[in-house]
């Protein structure tokens, strides 16, 4: 039986006694693009932070079947793009510098690769094993369409371009799994569409497993293979067709989001 890329088993997170995430369980299979939907304050970011080891939690989380030390080793091979990266605006890093931060040391890559092989999973490498670091950086920038921006300061880029640079930074480490937390919130439609085409490309062509939270139900219905719906608790986890066929579920998620979705489909 194949091992899941991610297993979340009865995970709860509380902030000062208030439950932000309540006994959530789901899994993500290799190659899946799981779209997580839920209103603001639903605990999506908190859940991601728990998966990424940035937040204490109760319950069990497994990466490719591993917990403990092996989990930490594999965690460094997870690409993470938050809603907003809070960096010092004067930071004198070029786009190239930022993407190069994502390069994993060869020892770490070898350790992770050994773990993945021993659990029988397939690591879909984006670059050939002989690729040098600067080739990987160039390829990552090409995937997100920022090759011509490599020598520009990251702070000079627009919000959408910065997010694409951070996706390139996540890609350059040849991730086993990518976690994207509302990565295009607040950016214009054109940039959103560019981002979605990048997402489709890395999932379909590079076979990277993706967990992605968004309020954009149209994009979720276009791109995701599976959907999870949460508001502190998990309301739904399954095939996207099943989710979008269930009007009650859409209503549970958000009246306004549903209206937006219906409106776009009616057009």
């Amino acid at each position: 039986m194949p091992v899941n890329a991610l297993d979340v088993d009865s995970v709860s997170v509380s902030h000062n006694g208030i439950l932000a995430v309540n006994k959530i369980s789901f899994n993500v299979q290799e190659g899946d693009l799981l779209g997580i939907v839920g209103p603001n304050g639903a605990g999506k970011t908190t859940l991601f932070r728990a998966i990424l080891g940035l937040q204490n939690y109760q319950g069990k989380i497994k990466l490719f079947g591993y917990e403990g030390h092996s989990y930490t080793t594999l965690l460094s091979m997870v690409g993470y793009v938050p809603q907003k990266v809070n960096f010092e605006p004067n930071f004198p890093a070029t786009v190239y510098d930022v993407v190069s931060m994502g390069i994993l040391p060869k020892k770490k890559l070898a350790k992770g690769a050994a773990l993945i092989q021993s659990c029988g999973c397939c690591w879909n490498r984006i670059f050939s094993t002989s690729s040098k670091d600067h080739e990987k950086i160039g390829e990552s920038l090409k995937i997100v369409g920022l090759e011509s921006f490599k020598d520009r300061r990251i702070s000079e880029l627009s919000g959408g371009e910065q997010q694409r640079a951070f996706i390139a930074k996540a890609l350059v480490k040849e991730p086993l799994l990518m976690i994207l937390d509302e990565p295009v919130t607040g950016v214009d439609m054109d940039v959103q569409n560019k981002f979605y085409s990048v997402l489709r490309k890395i999932n379909k062509e590079n076979k990277i497993t993706i967990v992605w939270s968004s309020h954009d139900l149209t994009a979720i219905s276009d791109l995701a293979t599976r959907v999870a719906c949460m508001n502190r608790e998990l309301f739904f986890h399954g095939e996207k067709e099943e989710f979008f066929a269930n009007k009650d579920m859409l209503k549970t998620y958000s009246e306004s989001a549903m209206q937006l979705h219906m409106h776009k489909h009616d057009m």
Binding site: L54, N90, P92, T94, Y96, K108, R152
Partner: protein, 283 residues
């Protein structure tokens, strides 16, 4: 001959110490400025003052006591900040005043100031002994070597701590190592510009280079070049015009900063137009 000054032993020691220390300050200072710890060096230097006073009080080589007191305080305040969530500026205020108060207390207990103490307060690069030179140069080279080894995780950590943690960088250990290196740098710098002007050496070349540099490496190299040239020129000017080297060096750095600021204001370093052009081509 202008180069006559290089034949003096005190001048050779002063220049060697000054150059090595300015490189160290520029390197560690860039990380401090970008982490918004600009005044951390200032606070640590005040703690070092307490350490030096302790050395005089105990009749021990004061640089050693300054090392012990500064490094342990830097590590302690980092731990305290983490466990109590004290804000950075408040922690600096506590450090600054308590370190200086300790110094004043110990000096009053040992019946007043001495010439040596004055040299630590205002710098005395041209009075550096062979023992001091060897110690400062070897400690600075150690800091530079460590920074070169840990540069990649340190840049990532400075850019975004959370992303660095997910990437597998041991951020807590790295932070402790970094503040310890900063404390050691401050002690090594005391002889050059004195406790009261250390933060100028840490901050000024870096805020100036940040305005000009493109990438991280480029910015650091600009900062090092500015700092080294200010130290060499400052020492030379102070020798010929009989001025205090510390004040001359810092004023040269201030002049560079203001000059670049004015040049930037008038568009000399503005890359905006070029960027817009690139943008339109790219899109």
């Amino acid at each position: 001959m202008a180069l006559d000054i290089l034949t003096y032993g005190f001048m050779q020691r002063g220049l060697l110490t000054g150059i090595v220390v300015s490189i160290t300050c520029s390197m560690i200072g860039l990380f401090l400025v970008l982490k918004r710890y600009s005044l951390f060096g200032d606070a640590l230097s005040h703690v070092a003052f307490g350490g030096i006073a302790l050395g005089f009080f105990l009749n021990v080589y004061p640089i050693w006591t300054a090392f012990v007191v500064s490094v342990s305080t830097a590590l302690g305040i980092t731990k305290l900040r983490k466990s109590t969530k004290i804000s950075g500026d408040a922690a600096i205020a506590v450090l600054l005043s308590s370190g200086f108060a300790m110094g004043v207390l110990l000096i009053s207990a040992s019946h007043g100031f001495t010439i040596d103490l004055f040299s630590f307060l205002f710098g005395s690069i041209l009075l550096t002994s062979v023992q001091d030179t060897l110690l400062i140069v070897s400690v600075s080279c150690g800091v530079i070597a460590t920074l070169i080894v840990i540069r990649k995780p340190l840049i990532h950590f400075t850019f975004d701590e959370e992303q660095a943690k997910v990437h597998g960088i041991p951020v807590e250990k790295l932070n402790y190592l970094f503040v310890a290196l900063a404390a050691v740098t401050v002690i090594a710098t005391m002889r050059l510009v004195g406790i009261l002007l250390i933060s100028a050496l840490i901050v000024l070349p870096n805020i100036t280079s940040i305005m000009m540099g493109k990438g991280f490496k480029n910015t650091m190299l600009i900062s090092i070049s500015m700092s080294v040239s200010a130290v060499i020129t400052g020492i030379a000017i102070s020798y010929y015009f009989n001025l205090a080297p510390s004040g001359t060096i810092v004023m040269l750095m201030v002049t560079m900063f203001v000059g670049i600021l004015i040049a930037k204001h008038f568009g000399v370093f503005s890359t905006k137009a070029v960027d817009m052009h690139n943008l339109s081509i790219a899109s």
